[in-house]
Amino acid sequence: MKNTAEQLEHPVQTPSKRKTLRSHIVEIVSDSGEGAQKAGQSFGAISAKMGNGVWTVEIIPADIQPPARTKESASGIRIRLGSKAITNAGDEADLVVAFNEVVPYARIEQKAYREGTLFLIESKWGEDRNKLVKDSYAEAIEDFRRRGYIVYEIPMEQEVLRSAPNAKKGKNMWVLGMLCNIYQRELSLGEAQVRHTFRKKSQEVIDTNLTLLKAGYDWAEENLDFQFEIPAQKTGQELVVMNGNEALSFGIAAAGIEVCSMYPITPATSTTHHLAEYIEKAGGIIHQAEDEIAAIGFAIGSSYAGKTSVTITSGPGLALKTEFIGLAVMAEVPLVIIDVQRGGPSTGLPTKVEQSDLLAVLYGQPGDTPKIVLAPSTIEECFQFVILSRKIAEAFRVPVILLSDANLGTGVQPFPRPALQPEWLSPPIDQSPWKEDGKPYDWDPQTGLSKRPVPGQPGGEYTLTGLAHSEEGKVTYDPDINQRASALRSLKLAAFGRTLKPPTVHGDEEGDLLLVGWGSTRGAIEEAVGQARELGAKVSSIHLRFLSPMEPGLKDIFKRFKKVVTVELNYSDDPNAPLITPENRRYSQLAWLLRASTLVDIDCFSNVQGQPIRPGSILQMIKKEVNL
């Protein structure tokens, strides 16, 4: 063993090699197909089961089988664990497990590591028969040390082959065992997790992986000179641990939505993979449509004839659904549309996070198309907001768009197990006779609301149309009716807005700087605000869940701060870039909306680098803004 305590920047405590920490960030990076994500998700689940706060996020290559030992092949996962709740992926990693010396460079480019990061690297490449590989390894190790990483060369493959015939397939569970030892995870939880992960495989496969887990655990116990303890706080509350897409799928089922109509698209579709496993036992069904347009058309047809349906997509699919969204607004068909946002425009960054669909969702359809838009900010909200969306869609006879993103979709976090309620489920389809002379669009002039007849209701017969129509559902070319109907559809938003409360300010109610966020960035923003406040900055934040209509009272909150800045993962011009002036500067999307609705000179802090926003970068911005 070349590894010694002297290599550690912070020597381990003696006599124990164990060190206690509040939180740590672990990354596993490998070639695509080596199972790093499976190991990391398992590690996250085990940690959550021990009562730690956990957030995991996947590092996904663009191709299914990219060439091995390239930066493009980097596939992996980040697991951040802490003593308290963890709400985001954090800053630079503290410990990295790398299956070869090339893949970490993809993460180095993204500034994922720092001086002092522990680097546990597969050592077999150092003895490779191919001189190029051998040299590449030696150079990289030297480079890693130069960068200040603390390198541990680990004979992973050699050790794995003692317990399994195929090192490529077994390495991940061996690494899981090693991490379980380093972080003092209960081995029994690890074993239970392995059994769960391979539940669809043969007993032989399960046994091999259990052996590997134990082997990795024992190897680390004997050979590594450091261990970490991250004390957990068991709440006594029953928890579930899952990613945002799984939470969405539970939300769909718990809302009693019986038709999920979709077309495969990254990063939304894993929601349906999960749902497909059990939804038929819960009285629902998934329709995999022939294309994105047909998927929403089918959902609208199904909603029109019965219970509110859901369609789920991401940016490019949302673009294709545009015309049908317009129809659902015009004809007032309740519908839930879930958009798990990814990088754009066009095909963009399919596996990476962005919050760039906000304006497209609000204004992407020709004509005026008022609709309700929500954005969950935690994984738990991914679950809750689907239930909420179905109820709003039905009460307001309107499509509701739920904006999640790749960060929430792939991030795994524990949250209290939901206590399912029968009233969350959709009610049976009303088949009672439609009230005498009742019109299909009997708009209430105060709210714009009306009740919809459903096929099967005698006396309610009408023809739904995307053409301008009267209360009777009749096609009309009367300019006054179109004006009035547009106003009534718009009025529904104002009516819904009356049910909302102003957002809670995180921090003091007034100060020098207010950050405004929406969606998955909440954890990072609030963490940075907390750190800045500890340093004495008069900074607070608010986080919007409702984007259309927006929560009330925003202008009053903004007035109490000297400066307001939105924090978003979508594009904005750098105010200092050439040709950019305060007049022509293109702001990030929420900033644009808030400037328009409040006339407050709101600034924005945004990027489209495809990475979850880091608390450290927000903290830096805060320091600059408040001259700290």
Binding site: L239, E277, K281, G297, G301
Partner: protein, 318 residues
């Protein structure tokens, strides 16, 4: 008691409403005088009355175009959707509602051009619905543009010197898609045959695709006249398990041919021939139906649903 059937007594107490033609009519059809769509509307309204389809249980779904105005003239439920999108909407309507009678009304542009992708998949889904393709070989609503089924050389506003591509053959296409279950052709001016075909389509348990040759007298007057007068090219397909029109319709055909509708190879030959065949080209009563899958788990109780979700949540519990 005394052998009385209690169901009969109940029937006497609450007599079923008898639906007349007027119960299915709504408004005045705005198609041009002489347009073939009118006769299809009459035939469909007659079918509804003959079959006593409850208006509240009947849904007409259409796309966009002249023919797609059809649902507005039916006093049933209707869904006048988007251009090319009648099929996905209709499939969504039917998926969880086996009790609804679903009809799709579409045109040659709507089905064979902008909606072609959805058309192919709707054939494959084979959901129980009756599809009426109003094929008039032209875009009428947007004022005479070449349609996918316009004959080669058709003069239109987009091809003033004649269209340059051979047309799509909707029968050939439908017969080429896997899981096709009912393919028939009729014409608006052969009323007895038109009615008999729509009825056969309604009775077929699956995706009944009926191409109706429809005259657009306004933009395609010459073609319309030719279609009516050229009796030599018109052949009626004849078979005991095919479509049997009334006597008056039979008289209109100079030529008849016996065709077994289970013979898909011959059906394809007929679809591709120069002659115009009216009748049932193909029927497969055993083709897999996707609407049966859609309706296989209806009506679960709240308890059943919550139990299934709880059991899945257990797997994620700590």
């Amino acid at each position: 008691m005394f052998g009385l059937n209690t169901e009969c007594i109940l029937d006497l107490e609450t007599p079923k409403k008898y639906f007349t033609l007027d119960d299915y009519k709504k408004g005045t059809a705005r198609w041009c005088p002489g347009c073939g769509d009118h006769s299809v509307l009459s035939a469909v309204q007659k079918l509804c009355r003959e079959e006593q389809l409850p208006p509240e249980k009947t849904v007409f779904v259409s796309g966009i175009g002249c023919s797609s105005r059809f649902p507005h003239y039916m006093d049933t439920y209707g869904f006048h959707s988007l251009h090319g999108r009648a099929f996905p909407v209709a499939c969504g309507v039917k998926f969880r509602r086996p009790d609804l009678n679903v009809f799709v009304v579409t045109g040659d542009g709507d089905c064979c051009s902008i909606g072609a992708g959805a058309w192919l998949h709707a054939i494959r889904y084979n959901m129980n619905m009756t599809v009426l393709l109003f094929d008039n070989n032209i875009y009428g609503m947007t004022k005479k543009q070449t349609s996918p089924t316009s004959r080669l050389g058709t003069i239109s506003n987009t091809h003033p010197h004649g269209s340059v591509l051979p047309p799509v053959n909707p029968l050939q296409t439908t017969l080429g898609v896997s899981n096709a279950s009912f393919v028939a052709q009729t014409a608006d001016w052969v009323r007895g045959h038109l009615y008999a075909t729509i009825k056969a389509g309604y009775e077929h348990q699956g995706f009944s695709f009926i191409r109706i040759l429809v005259r657009c007298t306004h933009f395609m007057g010459e073609l319309s006249n030719e279609m009516i007068s050229n009796k030599e090219h018109l052949v009626m397909l004849n078979h005991e398990s095919g479509i049997i029109p009334d006597e008056s319709a039979l008289k209109m055909f100079a030529r008849q041919e016996t065709h077994d509708p289970t013979d898909i190879d011959r059906a394809r030959e007929l679809a591709e021939s120069e002659d115009v065949h009216l009748g049932l080209f193909y029927q497969d009563k055993n083709a897999k139906r996707y609407d049966q899958y859609g309706a296989h788990n209806l009506g679960f109780s709240s308890g059943q649903k919550m139990a299934a979700i709880e059991s899945e949540l257990d797997r994620y519990a700590i």
